[in-house]
């Protein structure tokens, strides 16, 4: 099997790796780059636990081939905080108890950030529909929606 060299940027850092042609971006992030924040919950795009941004677009890393990342800009949960300063979403998720087991949390945070980046003042319904592809089995979503809204309010300076 021929491996493919890939040059890309992950959370602002240039990285290079070799991958198998059929390897997913999720596997490359987790197994080659040691970025295990994105999780595989389903491998079919139905749970959102592997949500990352590719060139600013929210996608499931399990449904992207690693080879497609050539020349792309990738953002994962590991890049959300600036050093020890958490992103407001991260802080509000902790303060609002918006996580229990936490395995869906990285994907939900990345997805919620993508929402607020283009819609800083979403309605609850918009938050719920935007996050419909991110399954959470612990919280019933209630506290997640509240945490996104309180982070959004803080980010708007409200």
């Amino acid at each position: 099997m021929k491996t493919i060299p890939v040059s890309t940027r992950v959370n602002g850092d240039s990285v290079e790796f070799l991958c198998a042609p059929e390897e997913t971006l999720l596997d490359a992030l987790r197994n080659r780059l040691g970025l295990t924040g994105a999780k595989e919950g389903c491998g079919s795009g139905d749970c959102g636990a592997c949500s990352v941004l590719v060139d600013g677009r929210l996608v499931c890393a399990c449904l992207v081939l690693a080879a497609e990342a050539e020349g792309a800009e990738i953002a994962t949960v590991e890049g959300m905080a600036e050093g020890e300063r958490l992103h407001p979403l991260q802080r509000h998720f902790i303060d609002s108890a918006a996580l229990q087991c936490g395995v869906c949390t990285p994907g939900i945070l990345v997805a919620a950030k993508a929402l607020l980046d283009h819609n800083p003042d979403p309605s609850d319904e918009e938050v719920r529909y935007w996050l419909a592809g991110n399954l959470c089995r612990c919280t019933g979503y209630d506290k997640i929606v509240r945490a996104v809204q309180s982070a959004a309010a803080e980010m708007r300076g409200a």
């Binding site: 099997m1 021929k2 997913t24 795009g45 139905d46 677009r57 499931c60 081939l65 997805a111 592809g133």
Partner: protein, 287 residues
Amino acid sequence: MQYERPQSTAEAARLLHGATGPARILAGGTDLIVQMNAGVAEPALVVDIKRIAGLRDIVAEDGGFRIGAAVSCAEMGEHAALAAAWPGIVEGANLIGSTQVQGRATMAGNLCNGSPAADSVPGLVAAGATARIVGPEGERDCPVAEIPAGPGKTTLKPGEFVASFFLPGRPARASDAYLRFIPRTEMDIAVASAAVNLVLAEDGSVAEARVALGAVAPTVRLVDAAGAALVGTRLEEDALEALAKACRDACAPIDDKRGTIEFRTKVAGVLARRAALIAYTRAGGRT
């Protein structure tokens, strides 16, 4: 497996033509990579068409739009002029999977995956859209309605692939709508669906109507009798009931894990009625 990223449609066609095993086009990958992860698809060649010039563009053409095969459903939703002219097509595309999936999924992939339940296909069929197909013998244009051939099958010949869609220009008093039924509010495959495309006359009556149903037959189905039931009407109750009946009569669904024959048939009629009313209102009609 071999992964290729051609720069032109001609190069893509050459690669497909020269493939020694199963070859697949990669646009959004939201069906292909699912199948690869599950071991259902094991292609020898994957041709990624996203770097081909023009295939990620939506451009005005002859009063209508040309939409590249690698344009994601999310990009369609963000295109204001397209969404205004063809709201039904855009809403169909924006119902596929999650936000994440819409960021990658394409109408071309949705069509070529061959599912009778594909959300973007009834709208294209109701719109009378054509697909530009590139193959070993060059380019040809083909009505979208003629591409599905049954579950998982298309009429595309070996080595052919969809490069773009063309949506025709339309008069002022025209619009479309798409509705599907799913058990949840998101994330499901359509159990039944209906797209309605209307052009209204000056007096507000329906001048032209095309109705397409999804998930109720081996392929998406254009129901001429359903369109005919609306022409000349203002969507009065009897016209809507005639529409629903024509739709029910056109259904030939299956019983499966997602729905029963009885349920799909009944709901197809309900959705067609509701979609017709939405399209009518969008086109400026008043019931």
